[in-house]
Structure formats: structure tokens, C-alpha cells
């Protein structure tokens, strides 16, 4: 009969205090490899469209004519495949994840200028 065998852990936790990361106030540190969000250094992009073709979900749209590179944040699965295939290595996986939104988020990058919904960045 082992009853209350949990009590040691319980009291230890009571004394130790919460293990909780008080998230909105304090953030848990991210790691270098943490996959958050794809970003592009648009000035280096050559609009080859390789990322668009390789993207498993079709989140990336590249338009060579308008020199725009855009990504649908609600489609991106952060697989990092685009980054790997990019011949110019101008794509980068950010540590910050895309924050939740009220509607679809499409980040458009035209040459050297970032446009789009600031709130959702």
C-alpha cells in the first residue's frame, strides 16, 4: 500500500514555486535554429521562382515581372525547404513566429521595400 506517493513531488513543487514561463510578460528564449517565419532579403532575390516551385504548400508567390515575392503566412508550414533550395541564399528563417491574425496574412515584398500588414509582423 503506497498511498500519497506523489506527495513528495507535490510539496517540492509547492516550495519550489511555479515552473511557468509568464509568457506575455517574459518570453522563453528561442534557439538559433528555432523555425519561426521565412523572411527574404529582397534586394538579393533574383526571382528565379525555385522556392515557389518547391514549396510543398504553395505559400510562396514569385512574380518576376513585378519583381514581387510574397508569402501567405497562413499557408507556410515552416519547413525551411525554400531556404535550402534558394540559389542566392537570400531567404532566412526567423526565430519569431507569425503572430495570430484576424484574417489572411499575405506579406508582399517588392524590391527593397517591405509592405504589408505591420500589425501582424
Amino acid at each position: 500500500m503506497a498511498i500519497l506517493s506523489m506527495s513528495k513531488t507535490l510539496f517540492k513543487s509547492l516550495v519550489h514555486g511555479p515552473y511557468t514561463v509568464l509568457y506575455p510578460v517574459k518570453k522563453k528564449e528561442t534557439y538559433e535554429r528555432t523555425r519561426g517565419r521565412v523572411e527574404i532579403n529582397i534586394s538579393q532575390c533574383i526571382y528565379c521562382g525555385l522556392c515557389q516551385r518547391r514549396c510543398p504548400t504553395g505559400a510562396i508567390q514569385v512574380n518576376r515581372g513585378n519583381t514581387t515575392w510574397s508569402i501567405d503566412r497562413l499557408k507556410c508550414i515552416q519547413c525551411n525547404y525554400c531556404n535550402e533550395v534558394c540559389p542566392k541564399k537570400c531567404l532566412r528563417m526567423n526565430n519569431e513566429y507569425t503572430s495570430p491574425s484576424f484574417g489572411s496574412v499575405r506579406d508582399d515584398y517588392t524590391n527593397a521595400r517591405v509592405s504589408g500588414d505591420k500589425e501582424n509582423n
Binding site: L4, M6, S7, L10, F11, S13, L14, H16, P18, T20
Partner: protein, 288 residues
Amino acid sequence: MFTFILRIIGIIILAPLAGGMLTGMDRVITARMQGRQGPPVLQPFYDVLKLLQKEPIEVNLMHRFYVYIALIFVIFTTVIMLTGGDILLAIFALTLGSIFFVLGGYASNSPYSLVGSERELLQMMAYEPMVLLTGIGLYYADNSFFIKDIVSAQAPAILSLPGIFLGLLFILTFKLRKSPFDLSMCHHGHQEIVQGITTEYSGRDLAVIEITHWYETVIALTLVFVFFATKAPVSYVFAVLACLLAYFLEIVIDNGFARVKWQLALDSSWIITGVLGTVNLIILSFFR
């Protein structure tokens, strides 16, 4: 007469506040034991106030009636107990309230509510003998069923009723709906019968159930209280401390056990009642 009415109003208002605060503390301590930060202490009040603001929905017309009437009878019990009334009568009134609550579960005619009701009834069957024996034990000890007489006795009742007190502590786990005996409904809904009787209640009705539970907490702790209180006012301090300690013990038990099945719930409580309660009573009856 006027002061008496004032007192009753005071009880009706203050008892749920105390119960709510206790529940809030319970949630914080539980969270800390689980290594979590936990909600604010006032969280139970937020919950209830939110529920009161929600859109009222129901599954059929008769459904809500039972929880309101249960609340009324639980308040009635609280008033009887805290004004020093007859402890057996209080127990009966409480039972009446609980039965209405159970009927509420049946009235929804929903599968999970029904199973919850059955389990709740089974639990009532499991703990009711001990509650009755507690009243009887107190009568043996102090020759009165009236709480006002019991709390002004020469010696605390615990001295002659240690067995009964332990038995009561055991069934408090049922009363406060704590693990391992939270078969019929528990505060965290991860259970095979969803939320048991409360599954079909929402909004205001759920708030009423929550408030009922606060009153019940006060009632349960009053039962602990009377075991320690004597004529001397200083004993009241000890009695309150004993209540808090008992409540803390329940929290520890809540966090230290897996939920049992009905067989063990019934067996264990009847055996505990049978051993602790009746042996204590038999010994007492010898010395009468």
C-alpha cells in the same frame, strides 16, 4: 428578531464569499503543487460573474428548475447550521438539496448527465451513513443535536469522537468533490462522463451550481468546526485553523490520488464508516 434576520442575511451573503475565496485558494495551491503559476485567487468569482453574463441556453424547460431549488435548500442548510440549528435537520435539508441536484441531471435526459446522476447518487449512498453517524456521534458526545449546544460544550467533541472525525474527513473528499472520489463530476473536465450532471448546464445555471458548491464547502467545513469548538472563545481560533488544515489536507489528497471507480468508492467509505464510525459509537455507548 431584527438582528436575527440581519444575521441570516449576513450568512447568506458571506458564506458564498468565504466559499469562493476557499475555492480560489484551492485552485492556486493546486496549481502550485502541479508546478504551475495558477489563476488569480479571485478566479472563481470571475468565472461565476462571466457565467452570469453568458447567453442563457437550455436543453428543455424543466431542466434549470432543479438547480435553483437545490441552491435554495443548500442556503437553507447553511442558515440552519450557522445559526446553531439542529444538525440532523440540516443534514436532511442538505440531502434534499443534493437530491434535487441529482434530479436535475436526470431531467436533461442526456447520457452523460444520467451517468453522472447515477454516480452522484452512488456517492450519496456511500457518504450518507457517515454524515448521519457524525450527527449521532455529536449527540452522544454533547447530548444535543443543536449546533449551538455542541459548540458551547465543556470539552471539544473531537476528544470523544476521534474515529467519527476521521470518518468525516474521509467523506469530506466526496462532499468537496475531490479526487479520488470525484466520480460524478470534478472541477477539471477530463473525465469519461464529461462533466457529469453539469454537462447540460451552462451560463446562469452553471453559475448557480458553482455558488451551491461554495455553500457546500462552507457547510462541510462547519462540520469540521463543530468538532473543535468549545465554550472557550479561544477554541474558535483552533477550530478555524483545523478547518483550514482539513481543507489543505483535502487539496493534498486531491492531488495525490487517481480517481477511483465506484466499487472502491462505495466499499471504502462503507468500510471506513463501519469501522471508524461505528466502533467509536459503540465505545461511546458503553460509557453512557
